[in-house]
Amino acid sequence: MGNAAASALVLIGLAVLGVESMNIEAGSAAALYPRVLIGAGFLLLLGLALASLRRGAGQPANDTELSLMASGPAPAAWRFALFCAIWIAYPLAMSLLGFTAATTLALWASSLLASRRRPWLTLLALLVFTVAFAVALKTVIYVPVPAAWPDQLIDAILYRY
């Protein structure tokens, strides 16, 4: 991705906010402040993007970490894409499978991308970690997480015995 494309994406985001600011109650003082900020931000960013384009369109940022993210060997790029997909899918899976199952699967899938040595042992270790964490959530931290049958089973064991 070049500078121009990245700038365009941020500019589109600001433009969307700018258009949305027109929907703020007409004549309200609440609209003026964000419109000024968004307008000034948009114009400044547009000026910076045009200046960058004039100097050399599409040059990647001089940031080694980001350059690596945007390039690199193909298998690594695929694994990275899968890594992103796993963690984006994880919260969605949590509402379907519950916290314990979704977390164990997400951690396992993510770990398999880096190394496939002893996968079943890894799965077991991650299951132990997740169950311990789930117990801590229920007994110490009190964070209610989406629950399915494995979580209900933990609840039953915790509160029945």
Binding site: N3, S21, E25, G41, E65, L66, A76, W87, S111, I141
Partner: protein, 505 residues
């Protein structure tokens, strides 16, 4: 003159049970602080009910330990893997991670522990003696002074970063614009909510910061790991440099004085929590430093300034809480719950009705910070475990804790989506070389700035109204001078660079 109740509280504060509560609180706080997304506020909120069964002073001491420990804990992951455990540790990660990459992780962790302890201990002494005086001063500041102070804070960050001023300003405007999402603070009119009730209260700051700093770092670590770079590229060479840590700390007297003063002062200001304090302290220290070029690249002065100011802010935020019942930060607000739970009413009568208990807490807070230095220095060798973990595992668990942290703040998956969007925005901004720090400060201070601007607009109608507020005028003048100075200095640097290029030609 020393209050007799203070002397009566001294043996209670130094009793083994009090010290045990402090140590326990510190350990719990460090664990919470080191996990991205679990903030000091969350830790205190979770442990307030636990203190119910304890003596009031012991409960408060434990919560004070959690607060101090969480603030230091946030720096551990920031230094070792560049993932700030709490939003306050962003600047610490900036300097500390660069030091760690040079093989100075123990040194950076030790300096962070000592600086955290010094800032906290001095602020605790300030709490003991300056509470009534400083609280009265803070009360005299109105919206004009707040607008001036916030404008000054933003200007300082804009001029102090090495990136071009216009890019810093753009970042700041983006942050301020993002802070307007949600209901208007004055009229209650919905803005940029796109019909979603989840956006009515605005973007959750913790989720956004997790996206900006934790999730992006997890992605960077993952990409490096998949490209074959397996372990963190920092070395951990034992803790032989203890004297170096003590030596450095001992020779930075004025850095500690400046950072502690900034931390305490900003802590007293309502709603300016420890998140924005290190930016200000770091920027001001850069101005005074003999090696300003090292700031941002592993400067020990920068690390000391950031870490000291954060801990000093912790004590500072308790001053208006104890004397007036006004919390200076979110975590301090949790103490209101703890005090109320133990039948104490924060405010001017607190020292009259519960003097010994409160003085016990305050004196023990000094001891808590001394304890934290010792625990921090002792535990450095165990933090090294992180460095033996492959990057792919760190990326995996940072991703998990980022998602969980974003979810746990309000127990809703919506904030996880916000966290992912924030991570995407941070990566895009890095790609077009817009620094993220002005965006963050704009987001943190945006709501407060808008609220005060509205009142400023109503109360200050003519220049004479403004001239009647000398503190505000002074701060505005200082802001203008800082901006003008930065523009002038950069123009001269550019001119000089142009001349030297011509000479080479």
């Amino acid at each position: 003159m020393i209050d007799p109740q203070m002397l009566a509280a001294l043996p209670h504060a130094l009793a083994p049970a009090s010290l045990l509560c402090a140590a326990l609180g510190i350990v719990v706080g460090i664990v919470f602080g080191a996990i991205p997304g679990l903030t000091a506020t969350l830790a205190i909120a979770l442990f307030v009910p636990v203190t119910f069964a304890m003596q009031p002073e012991h409960g408060l001491i434990m919560l004070g330990g959690i607060y101090a420990g969480a603030i230091f804990g946030g720096s551990i992951s920031a230094i070792l893997i560049n993932v700030p455990g709490t939003p306050a540790s962003i600047v610490t990660g900036w300097e500390g991670y660069a030091m760690a990459r040079r093989g100075e992780a123990p040194y950076a962790l030790g300096l962070a522990a000592v600086s955290s302890g010094v800032g906290g201990a001095v602020s605790a002494v300030a709490m003991l003696f300056l509470t009534p005086v400083l609280a009265r001063l803070a009360l005299s500041l109105g919206p004009p002074e707040f607008v001036a102070l916030l404008a000054f804070s933003l200007a300082i960050v804009i001029v102090m970063l090495d990136t071009p001023l216009l890019r810093n300003l753009t970042g700041c405007l983006i942050g301020l614009a993002l802070a307007t999402i949600g209901l208007d603070p004055v009229t209650g009119v919905p803005r940029f909510t796109f019909g979603s009730p989840d956006l009515a209260s605005g973007l959750d700051l913790v989720s956004v910061l997790i996206g900006f700093f934790c999730m992006t770092q997890a992605l960077i670590l993952a990409r490096e790991a998949f490209a074959g770079d397996r372990r963190p590229d920092i070395r951990f060479e034992g803790v032989s440099g203890m004297w170096r840590i003590v030596g450095t700390a001992a020779t930075r007297f004025w850095t500690y004085v400046r950072s502690t003063s900034i931390g305490i002062f900003l802590g007293i200001m309502p709603a300016i929590g420890p998140e924005s304090t290190p930016f200000m302290a770091h920027a001001i220290e850069k101005r005074f430093s003999r090696k300003p070029e090292e700031f941002g690249y592993g400067s020990s002065d920068g690390l000391i300034a950031a870490e000291t100011s954060i801990s000093a802010n912790v004590g500072g935020s308790m001053i208006p809480l104890l004397s007036l019942g006004i919390p200076g930060s979110g975590a301090a607000a949790m103490f209101i719950g703890a005090l109320t739970l133990h039948g104490m009413q924060p405010g001017p009568l607190l020292f009259v009705d519960n003097g010994v208990a409160i003085y016990t807490f305050l004196i023990a807070f000094v001891a808590t910070n001394v304890f934290m230095v010792l625990i921090g220095l002792f535990a450095i060798r165990y933090f090294a475990v992180v460095l033996r973990v492959p990057k792919s595992w760190i990326a995996t668990f940072v991703s998990f804790f980022s998602v969980f942290g974003a979810y746990a703040v309000n127990n809703r998956l919506f904030d996880v989506g916000i966290m992912f969007l924030a991570a995407a925005l941070a990566l895009l901004l890095r790609f077009i070389r817009i620094p993220i720090l002005p965006v963050v400060l704009g987001m943190i201070l945006g709501g407060l700035l808008e609220e005060n601007l509205v009142v400023f607009d109503i109360t200050v109608k003519t220049p004479a109204d403004l001239l009647a507020r000398p503190i505000a005028v002074g701060l505005f003048a200082l802001t203008a001078a800082v901006l003008a100075g930065a523009v002038y200095r950069r123009a001269r640097t550019r001119q000089a660079a142009g001349r030297s290029a011509l000479n080479f030609e």
